[in-house]
């Protein structure tokens, strides 16, 4: 009985909200007519016609007890495509600048045995060498 009352209440609330009159500001314009050919395409002034994004990966150095130098590699998640390779001290802060196909949403960073997969959700992303503690 308690459940029935609760469900009835929710249903009334939904019904009431669905009957709320739209304000002018709620109006959602319909999409502009779809282009039929290239000449009809309209894009914003800042539209990037490129199919790649330039990524800046900010690497935060790790204060290793002794100087460690190794190869810093940025690749596709499956490591079949290498986007960036350089030789760096582990303690060094630096920026890895590379270009990534716009449809690539994850990258893998390898530094020797240290490996991390990063989400590419911005053109400026961060990396550090720290890994979750393994018990």
């Amino acid at each position: 009985m308690k459940h029935i009352k609760l469900l009835s209440g929710i249903a009334i609330l939904i019904a009431a909200s669905s009957c709320t009159k739209l304000k002018d500001t709620d109006y959602v314009p319909t999409a502009s007519p779809k282009a039929n050919n290239f000449k009809e395409i309209k894009v914003a002034d800042n539209f990037n016609w490129s199919t790649t994004n330039n990524i800046e990966l900010n690497v935060i150095g790790f204060a290793s007890i002794t100087p460690i130098s190794n190869t810093f590699i940025v690749s596709s998640e499956n490591q079949k495509e290498v986007y960036f390779a350089s030789n760096n001290l582990m303690s060094e802060n630096f920026t890895a600048n590379f270009d990534l196909p716009a449809n690539v949403k994850k990258i893998r960073v390898n530094y020797g045995s240290i490996s991390k997969v990063l989400d590419v959700n911005a053109k400026n992303i961060n990396f550090d060498y720290l890994l979750p503690v393994v018990e």
Partner: protein, 488 residues
Amino acid sequence: MKKIAILLIITLTGFVSKSQTLSLNCESGNRSIEQGNCWAFGSVSYSNLEFRINGFWSMRTNQLTNLSTSACWVKTPWFKPGSGNITMKTRLENASGTSRGIVFTYVPYDANAISSTKEGTGTAFYTYNFATPLDIWVKDITVPIPSAIANSNQAYKIIISFIGSGGSGRAFADDLVIPGTYWSNQSNGCLPKALIVDADNDGVQDSDDAYPNDAARAYNNVFPASGYSTLMFEDLWPTLGDYDFNDFVVDYKINRVTNAANNVVEIKAEFVSRAAGASRPNGFAFSFDGLVNSKITSVTGNKIFTPNPHTFNANGTEAAQTDAHFIVVSNIFKVLIPQGGGSGGVNTNPSAVRVPNDTTRMTISFNTTTNTTSLSDVTLAKFNPYLIVNQTRGTEIHLADKAPSALVNTALLGTADDNTNAGSNRFYKTKNNLPWAINVTSSIPYMKETIDFTKGYNNFIDWSGSNGTTSTDWYLNLSNFRDTNNLY
């Protein structure tokens, strides 16, 4: 003031390595940092509770209800033991329980061990028993380094295990100091340091070195990362064309070879001319935005034909330019020769004779001693390829928003359908922001003659109409992505 000074020192790192000691004072407050330096922890965390021993952080074990040495432990990185005493502070969290102790075990390196850590069989060499009845006062523990491993010049780890029976009390520990020399490689699975194999002695181990026998070169940084990219041009700028984007079609890949110091040594560029659906003898060139002439020592492999609208510097870059400009092919019709003589489209009409693709391989050498170049100077984002129309040096067609060279005829900019506004860095776009050239990260088929580009790529309009938020993979060869009837 003293507190500030202490804070500054202890926040730098929780793990200190003086010249001949390993130390763990926990003041990083973050075990990940210690793990990064190859320490390991088993059911031992960092704690800043009131029972901490020194500073802001100490180690705190789980409840000590087990006499097994594998229940609660701290393990050092590989190190070469010195001589003298291991020292450590410890205390119990409460006085309940039957017994509490700390066991010290050394572990040798065993190259044949199955485990990835290559740890051999451990030897327990010292046990500290908390006196009974138990109490909560801080104890200073001193443990001699066993003679069997002291100054042995071999790599060992020491495991410090916390054991106990009865009750549920935990232990705290802090200020661990062990005589010895740190000998782990944090970037090699924390295995002991070893001599790397580096035939050319450039500091990059052979397994990572694309040129293991050439000290001047170490890495290939190629865009695109695999295969080729495709550039496609319309050549009627500043007026609109038919948007088949096949007036010149060229695939490319750019390998930026760097050395161990991460300076660009050379660029090996490969351009595959595929089609020229044009009626005019155009040329093809490129630059990198902001890359100046003085960084270049030589340019080879480009194809310059007579009559030639270009003049060159001694290093092979084009003369009278502000930046370094590289002419790839001065006349495309000399490498994609129209069949039937004279001029006319090449490889855009399927019923016409197909002309083989032509590949131009260029090598651009860089100054590596002074005025060096980094990868960020020669990214795809700075790559600026362009068409030089009809052997008229001043008529250039670039990708959208890419600036023309110093040799462009500025009188043409912003005329006819071109809505260039150099003052606001707006170049080579119509008032609706349409381009005269497209650069695609994969090698893709191009359009048959006069067929609109959108009739070949079914999701292109969705991509551009969404301002690039959807259909970002419009160019891939996936089901229903292309209309191959309209593609050459």
